[in-house]
Every structure is written in structure tokens, then in C-alpha cells.
Assembly symmetry: C2
Homo-oligomer: 209 residues x 2
């Protein structure tokens, strides 16, 4: 999955050394993501997470000093996943249209496992660090990938205006996926193809509005 890095305020109370504890921590993170996704921040309790993970609360507090550090870990994990997906697709070196289709489909897939997670992490859940901040490293890197995608799609050098374009696309895709998930339509092929069309047409230059 992802490498976890030490922070000023130690993210982890204790580093899991054996395979068993590493698995426990992983399970806790997954369960936490599921609880956040299904119940939102208001329904996120350490006991629920432990229950769903099938471990005792004690185990949870063995590794995370408090609730907040657990959310931080979940967020870190999720954002790492997002960036990793982006990097992989970019590395494929696809043709423009395939590229867009790939990104859209990857984003849909990423939201399929825990439909509400992204939104909850960005909008609801408090944070000790600054990942919520619009100028956070994550947001910047994330949007930079989109901006890069724009220049790739248009087959030319990166451009300052690409960043606004990237913002619009990223947020529009987010909105369609989020609401589709809310309506239970994330699997609808019509939604998927129309979303791709939305992005493609917006990216196509030439025809003036």
C-alpha cells in the first residue's frame, strides 16, 4: 500500500514490528475508512472502528494515541492511494482520449470501495495537519497531475491556464461521481460515458463557445 512517515507529533504511539501487528494496523485503517464512508465524521467512533476491524479498542490505542491521529492516518493513506493511481495512469503514456477515459474510470473505481470517504475526509473530518487546506501539498500535487493531463491531452507545453482547467475538471468529476454514488448510480455505464464526454468536450479546443 503506502509507506508511513514519522511526524512531529508522532502519528503512531508505537511502530508495529511483527507481521501480526502490521496486519492489525492495516485492518484498523480499512475499518476506519469504511466507518467514515458509511457514517460520516459524526458517526466515527473508535469503538465502532475497533468492532468493525474485529480487534479490541485497546489494540487501536496501542498504535494511535487518539482519535484524531487515526483520522490523519486514514486520510494520509487515502490521499497516497489517489496520487498513486494518477501516477500509474500517467506512466502508461496513453493517447489523449484513452487518457481521459482512464482517469475518469480510475476515479470512479477509487470511489467505489468507500463511496463517501473522499468527501468526508476533505469536508467533514477535522485534521491536525493541513491536508484540508486548499494550498496543502496534496491539493497542489493532485491538481498538478490534472494540469499536466491537460497539457498532455492538448499535446503541447504546460500552460498557466491549464491550472484553472484542471480545477474545473477535477471538481466537476468529483461532483458527478459523488452524487452518482449518493444515488447508487456509480455503476451506470451511461453516467460513466457521459462523464467522459463532458471532460473530453471541455478539453477540445477549436470550436468556440
Amino acid at each position: 500500500m503506502s509507506t508511513r512517515i514519522a511526524k512531529q507529533k508522532p502519528m503512531m504511539r508505537k511502530e508495529p514490528r511483527q507481521a501480526r501487528s502490521r496486519a492489525t494496523v492495516e485492518t484498523i485503517i480499512q475499518a476506519g475508512a469504511r466507518v467514515l464512508s458509511r457514517e460520516g465524521w459524526a458517526g466515527f467512533t473508535t469503538n465502532k472502528v475497533a468492532d468493525l476491524a474485529g480487534v479490541s479498542v485497546g489494540s487501536l490505542y496501542q498504535y494511535y494515541p487518539d482519535k484524531l491521529s487515526l483520522v490523519d492516518a486514514i486520510r494520509q493513506n487515502h490521499l497516497d492511494d489517489c496520487l498513486s493511481i494518477m501516477r500509474k495512469i500517467k506512466a502508461k503514456g496513453l493517447a489523449p482520449m484513452q487518457f481521459v477515459a482512464n482517469i475518469v474510470q480510475a476515479m470512479i473505481e477509487a470511489h467505489s470501495t468507500y463511496p463517501g470517504l473522499h468527501r468526508v475526509l476533505l469536508d467533514e473530518a477535522p485534521s491536525s495537519d493541513d491536508y484540508r487546506n486548499p494550498n496543502s501539498g496534496f491539493e497542489i500535487e493532485y491538481l498538478a497531475y490534472y494540469a499536466d493531463a491537460v497539457s498532455i491531452y492538448r499535446n503541447r507545453q504546460p500552460n498557466k491556464a491549464d491550472h484553472i482547467t484542471a480545477l474545473i475538471i477535477s471538481d466537476a468529476v468529483d461532483g458527478v461521481i459523488h452524487n452518482a454514488a449518493r444515488r447508487g448510480l456509480l455503476d451506470d455505464p451511461a453516467i460513466q460515458s457521459e462523464l467522459i464526454r463532458l471532460v473530453s468536450k471541455y478539453l477540445d479546443e477549436g470550436v468556440n463557445p
Copy 2:
């Protein structure tokens, strides 16, 4: 099919009769909207609402039997506003491009007062009735307006496919606005014009992707 059904639980404990109490109720609703917008469902407490409204909790409970009925009232109020905006624009009978621009700008404006409200009401806050349901009367009416807008823009009879188009547009607009608000960019003219461009290009037929 059922239209609107009378609620078992009365929305209001007591109907405000004098001007003073009507103003109190209005203030409470506004304060409630502000609290929901700023703090989300998790931070929504009756005492906070009363404080912000500048009235005592007692007054709040004079009109609303419980917290849930207050949220319901706030939601009802907000959704009525949304539909009312839509109706007014439709009534203007504008030309296609002006029409799109108007809707987008109206939606941006609607989100400007309480940036997080719409999302919180749809995603976070629980509901005694079925406004959260994707097949609720509100959703259907709301999307119907968008679908209608599509057929107006394309200057032809309404079409079954318009509904998917409407869904995509509605949700994309929602996503861009919501995230722009989160980033404090709701006033950015570049965002506004690009959002209009996104919608217009998607609606333009002819050029095949």
C-alpha cells in the same frame, strides 16, 4: 405513486401568530442554516443555533419539538429557495446561452450565502422525511427543471436522454461550486466563466468527440 403525504409528526409545535414570533422563527432558521453550513451536522446543536440567533433555546423549542424537525424546516426552506430560483429563470424566457449563464450564476449565488449548506443537507444531516432519497419529490422536480433547460437550450421537444444530461450537468455544477467554495474561490470570475464554458460545450451537439 404518492404525492406529498401529511407528516405524522407535526413540523411545528406551535404556529407563530404575531409578527415578533414570526421574526424569531425566521431568525432561528437562518441561524440554523449558518451553523449547518459552517460546522456541519456534527457541530449542529440547538444551543449554538439559539445563541447565534440571539434567542434562548427555550424559544427554539417553543416552535420546534426537536432538533430533527428544525433541520427539516431548514431543508424545506433551502430547497424551496432553489426551486424558486429555477422557476424565475425559466420564466425569463432567455436565449440558450444566456439561459445557461443565468442558471450557473444563480447557483453560484445560491451557494454564496451558506457555502456548505446544500451539501450538508443532502449528505450529512438526517431527515425524518424523504428529501434525502434520490427519488424524492425534490430531486425529481429539481432534475426535471434541468432536463427542461436542456431541451430549451437545444430548442426542441423534451427527450428521455435529457435526464441523464441534466444529471451530469447538475452534479458537475454542484461539484465545481462546492469545491470552489471550499477553496474560497466562489467569487473568482475565471471559475464562473469556465464553469459556464464547461456546461455550454457539453450541451453543444454537432462536433463529435
